[in-house]
């Protein structure tokens, strides 16, 4: 499936925030594509754009070759049912007053296919088993507060997959899960991806998670994609100064690998007023005069894409 030229404008009174500013990327069927960035990068917004939770201000979002915002109502519903989202916070993304089994079953109510209540329950229980919440009958009737964080996240995953979607967006799926449980959830996602032949978009600020889980990755900064390519290429030979700085800054759980860090000064600027030209130029160690004037384009260098005048 593809997305091409997406632009999203948010209005805040009189000021416009370009959360996602003219990005183009596509996700290959069957792959896990990572959207990596810090706060203000636009990764969450982009994820939601691809799943039709937000409508772009301009641009096209295509799913399986079709422009999703140009469809008839029932076609739109059909497309919607093939997409799903796994949310970040397992506690607040579940309805505290609804049984977890019912929440999973609920996902089957609003699609184009009609299920009876009995069928919904059977499907929900099967999904609960698949995500490791066994015995499913017992778990079906439990409420979110009776489960641990990791178990709740499994419910969120079950709810996303019960409609048998082909495309899943995972928004920081392990960021709010206990550290000792993260590997379980990551492994679960990888297993389910194989079992259901899923295509995934993984949004994360944690580069180590992105490296572990993703095949390809787009690095985002302030609403733009600055580097994109396979995980091996981008993480081993980062070309953009921002990617380099980001990789350098990540703390490594290995005292042997302690390094002297070159951290760019300053912080991410306010997205309401992004810097002119290349958005990273005020903090970039190799910025030249052209960088404050002209925005660099995403072009192919050494096998992957980068948006830098000096790459």
């Amino acid at each position: 499936m593809q997305r091409s030229f997406i632009e999203q404008l948010f209005s805040k009174k009189r000021e416009y925030v370009k959360a996602v500013d003219g990005i183009t990327f596509s996700v290959e069927k069957g792959s896990i594509h990572g959207l990596v960035g810090e706060s203000g990068s636009g990764k969450s917004t982009t994820g939601r754009l691809t799943i039709a939770l937000i409508e772009p201000t301009s641009g096209i979002v295509k799913f399986e070759g079709r422009d999703i915002w140009n469809l008839e109502n029932n076609q739109f519903k059909e497309v919607r049912s093939k997409m799903a989202m796994v949310f970040q916070d397992p506690t607040s993304s579940l309805n505290p007053k609804m049984k977890i089994g019912e929440q999973v079953a609920d996902a089957l109510r609003y699609g184009p296919e009609h299920f009876t209540a009995g069928e919904r329950r059977v499907n929900a229980e099967e999904m609960l088993e698949r995500v490791g919440l066994s015995p499913a009958e017992t778990f079906y009737s439990r409420y979110p507060h009776e489960l641990s964080g990791g178990q709740r996240q499994r419910v969120v995953i079950a709810r996303a997959l019960v409609t048998k979607p082909s495309y899943v967006v995972a928004d920081e799926p392990v960021a709010m899960v206990d550290v000792s449980v993260r590997a379980q959830i990551m492994q679960l996602l990888l297993d389910l991806r194989k079992q259901f032949d899923l295509t995934m978009l993984m949004i994360t600020h944690d580069l180590a998670v992105a490296k572990y889980m993703c095949d390809t990755v787009s690095v985002m900064y302030l609403g733009k994609i600055v580097e994109e390519g396979s995980v091996q290429d981008v993480f081993r030979i980062p070309l953009h100064p921002y990617t380099q700085a980001l990789l350098n800054a990540v703390p490594v759980p290995d005292p042997q690998k302690r390094k002297v860090k070159q951290i760019p000064s300053g912080e991410i600027p306010n997205p309401i007023n992004p810097p002119s030209g290349c958005r990273f130029h005020p903090r970039c160690p190799i910025a030249g005069s052209i960088c404050s004037v002209k925005e660099p384009e995403l072009r192919i260098v050494k096998g992957h894409k980068v948006a830098c005048h000096f790459a």
């Binding site: 799943i51 939770l53 519903k77 919607r80 049912s81 799903a84 989202m85 949310f87 970040q88 916070d89 607040s92 993304s93 579940l94 309805n95 505290p96 007053k97 609804m98 609920d106 996902a107 109510r109 609003y110 699609g111 507060h145 969120v156 709810r159 409609t163």
Partner: protein
């Protein structure tokens, strides 16, 4: 919340019962609810079973010597007309409770849908409704109640309406603020992501989470209605006919108080306080239970 008679009452009892309160509070509201429900059940049972358990006819005059103190024959004494106070106490809650129930039902029927729909619709609908509600909210409840009852005459429905009108804004405000908060929570976005339509989100995802606060408001509503109705009856405006009633007994009892006949006013006053307290305890207990969980 406006300073109603109930608030003042609760502040006083709060000071007196502070050590008790902190001991009870450790049960995290559960004890409050249990005690409150016990009181409510007792008073409701008493009112329903009045015809069967009342020893005498509460309106019968000169059953005993007037203004006689509590004795074995008349455990709560007699009032200035020689009526048995105990019987009047047993019967005295019916009108008040009936008005309270009617008022709460009216409030909920109007307040809940508006409270849910206005913020969910948003935009100027929400703003206009809020404006109307805020203006009603500014009215002093007892004064408005007196106005309505003096114009339209006393009856269960009119009394209930008078109280309800002033209370709907409270329901509206509380529900609205809850809806506004919940609307932004991730599980609502999750509901949207699975394709739920607006109505489904409202009734299956938002309403169940608002319910707890509604119970809190409803019980406060009850307590306040009891006190307002008793107040109206005390002035002589609330009751349509000469029913036995705690509120009106306050009037009868007041005349005797100067002469040292304390029992009439004491027992009727206590019953009013007790019933309001019962509902207040339930509402406090519910509030305690919902708040920590919200955290």
């Amino acid at each position: 919340m406006k300073k109603t008679g109930q608030d003042n009452l609760f502040s006083i009892s709060g000071i007196l019962f502070r050590p008790l309160k902190s001991a009870v509070r450790r049960g995290n509201g559960r004890n409050f609810i249990i005690v409150g429900l016990a009181i409510i059940s007792f008073i409701t049972a008493m009112s329903i079973l009045a015809p069967y358990i009342s020893p005498h006819n509460p309106t019968a005059l000169d059953i005993g010597p007037p203004n006689s103190p509590p004795s074995k024959q008349f455990p709560m004494g007699t009032d200035l007309y020689g009526r048995d106070v105990l019987s009047r106490i047993i019967w005295g809650g019916r009108f008040i409770l009936l008005v309270a129930v009617t008022a709460v039902v009216i409030c909920m029927t109007i307040g809940i849908p508006i409270g849910l729909l206005a913020p969910y619709a948003g935009g100027y609908v929400d703003r206009i409704v809020s404006l109307v509600m805020d203006s009603i909210y500014a009215f002093p409840s007892l004064v408005l109640a007196i106005m309505i009852v003096s114009i339209f005459g006393p009856s269960v429905v009119n009394d209930a309406l008078a109280i309800a009108v002033v209370y709907v804004p409270t329901y509206f405000r509380v529900i609205r603020s809850q809806v506004l908060t919940i609307k932004e929570l991730p599980y609502i976005e999750a509901a949207k992501s699975i394709g739920a339509n607006r109505l489904a989100i409202l009734f299956r995802y938002i309403w169940p989470n608002v319910l707890a606060s509604v119970v809190v408001i409803a019980t406060i509503n009850f307590a306040d209605s009891i006190l307002t109705t008793a107040g109206l009856d005390f002035i002589g405006l609330g009751l349509p006919v000469t029913l036995p009633d705690w509120g009106i007994d306050l009037t009868y009892g007041r005349q005797g108080l100067a002469s040292g006949f304390w029992w009439d006013i004491f027992f009727s006053g206590t019953m009013i306080v007790l019933s309001a307290l019962g509902f207040s305890l339930v509402s406090e207990g519910m509030a305690e239970r919902t708040n920590p969980k919200l955290r």
